[in-house]
């Protein structure tokens, strides 16, 4: 009962903090800055947000961004998980590639965007490639860590039944690695979203990133804020989606307390 009360208080305080921030923002925008071009008050942002959806302008761009994003993330999950399990299982091959993988993981993906443009050209695919590269490495590195983390006795157990590596991987390794893959995916979603935005800033005539640049260049600060709100909600929705998937996949886990 006490825990429930505490949980309720937790949410109430969070909402209160959010409301306080919005009021503070409104007050500063209206009475301190008093220049909507510099700082748009939140009520104006809400109006602009409503206009963007009411006029239908946003849908086409949102769809274009989501298409790039989900294709890039999807490919990153497929290749990241398969290669992660492979490298985790065959450690000597991992040792061989380890410096290379660590370097790529540490590198901000956007740094090689000009190179990608030279190699692939303009259009849809360089943006998908950036999302893929941004998302691929966290998934790969986490999957490798997940495979390495498995109690070796479970692998001995699989071997004692005389199973092939593939059977052990599908029945023991992959399910045991899922929590690590989910952690990688959570990181990948945010990195992928950032990669997608930056790619759209530079070479796009469609997408959320393009709209942000457009509204910025044309000093439509209210709409720029509205786009930022959309990005925040998109990031939150994607993170919640990953959390939901993680919970579904780990439904067996006992509830804490």
């Amino acid at each position: 009962m006490r825990k429930k009360e505490l949980f309720g208080l937790n949410i109430k305080l969070g909402i209160l903090g959010l409301i306080a921030f919005i009021i503070l923002w409104e007050v500063i925008a209206l009475f301190v800055v008093n220049n909507p071009l510099f700082l748009t008050p939140p009520h104006q942002v809400v109006i602009s947000l409503h206009q963007l959806f009411a006029q239908g302008l946003i849908y086409e761009h949102l769809l274009a961004s989501l298409e790039e994003f989900f294709l890039g993330i999807g490919l990153a999950v497929i290749f990241g998980v398969i290669l992660g399990i492979f490298f985790g299982w065959y450690k000597k091959i991992h040792w061989f590639f380890s410096p290379l993988l660590t370097s790529f993981y540490a590198m901000p993906t956007i740094a090689i965007f000009p190179l990608i443009l030279i190699w692939i050209g303009l259009g849809f695919w360089p943006k998908v490639t950036i999302v893929f590269l941004a998302a691929f490495f966290p998934i790969l590195i986490n999957t490798i860590a997940g495979v390495r983390n498995i109690d070796h006795d479970f692998i001995r157990l699989g071997k004692s039944f005389g199973g092939s590596d593939l059977k052990i991987i599908t029945n023991i390794i992959f399910p045991a690695t899922l929590p690590f893959i989910a952690s990688g995916l959570r990181m990948a979603v945010i990195r992928g979203l950032s990669g997608m935005l930056v790619a759209e800033f530079y070479v796009s005539n469609k997408g959320i990133g393009y709209l942000i640049t457009y509204f910025g260049n044309t000093f439509q600060t209210d709409k720029l804020f509205a786009m930022v709100i959309i990005i925040i909600f998109l990031g939150l929705a994607l993170t919640l989606l990953v959390n939901f998937l993680e919970k579904r996949l780990q439904a067996w886990k006992p509830e804490k307390n």
Binding site: D151, D153, F154, R156, L157, G158, K159, S160, F161, G162, G163, S164, K167, I168, N171, I172, P175, A176, L178, Q250, W252, K253, P254
Partner: protein, 262 residues
């Protein structure tokens, strides 16, 4: 006495001059040295000895998990590989936490490439045999230590191996649960007519369960002697107060103690 027994039953496994050494960067440790013994078809053989005498190493060799440094293991009627005839029950239950009792039991079948759907009858029989019928949809975290070990045993048993290797499966359990499972195991052994090889460091357990006890001496592991228990088939917990049981137990204890004072 031992030869009498051998004449009744045929040899299932013949281990000859088995040696295993582990080596790391600088050291070379001889775990077992020139071990030879036979395992009879349908017998319950216990392997007992102090810590570090190579009991588990022998079991790992039989399961094909370790390659012996030298020596041979021959399994009669072995047309398939070693692994398919033999399954192993580990000391820790090693249940996959995301699988229910039912799907933990089918793990061995799935890994061996056998569809559990085709073996549903065997799976149900095994669940009932091990008293797990009411727990088949439970997850490991919902089970007691004793039940986990039952699942561990059932998982190996459902693969229908000719030989079951058991590596101290009851060592982490409390005395009451342990005795209950010893009884169950003995009952299942008699029903199944399979060959059981049971590693333990518990003299009481070895004498209660086994037809023969292989005593190992440590550093490196060598066979000290093989004791034939001659205690008959029917064994109950009260049987542990029986004079013949106590006599075998004392004999084994003395033999192991002699090793300790050497």
């Amino acid at each position: 006495m031992s030869s009498k027994n051998k004449s009744k039953k045929s040899i299932k496994i013949k281990v000859s001059d088995l040696s295993v050494s582990y080596s790391n960067d600088k050291k070379n440790l001889l775990a077992i040295n020139d071990i030879s013994f036979d395992v009879l078809k349908g017998e319950f053989l216990a392997i007992i000895g102090p810590s570090g005498c190579g009991k588990t190493t022998i079991l790992n060799c039989l399961a094909g998990l370790i390659r012996p440094t030298s020596g041979t293991i021959f399994i009669k009627n072995s047309h398939n590989t070693l692994k398919k005839q033999i399954t192993m029950v580990f000391q820790d239950a090693l249940l996959l936490p995301w699988r229910t009792v039912h799907s933990n039991i089918t793990l061995g079948l799935e890994i061996s490439g056998i569809s559990p759907k085709n073996k549903q009858n065997d799976i149900d029989k095994t669940l009932n045999l091990f008293g797990l019928g009411n727990f088949k949809n439970f997850y490991p975290h919902e089970l007691s230590g004793g039940l986990k070990q039952r699942v561990n045993l059932a998982r190996a048993y459902v693969c229908n191996p000719e030989v079951l290797l058991l590596d101290e499966p009851f060592s982490h359990l409390d005395l009451i649960t342990k005795e209950k499972l010893q009884l169950e195991l003995r009952r299942i052994f008699l029903i199944s007519k399979k060959t059981f090889i049971f590693v333990t460091h518990d003299i009481d357990e070895a004498v209660f369960l086994a037809d023969r006890i292989l005593l190992l001496s440590p550093g490196p592991g060598e066979i000290k002697t093989i004791v034939n228990t001659n205690l008959g088939k029917d064994r109950k917990v009260s049987f542990k107060k029986n004079r013949s049981f106590l006599s075998v137990k004392n004999r084994v204890r003395l033999l192991l103690a002699q090793e300790g004072t050497k």
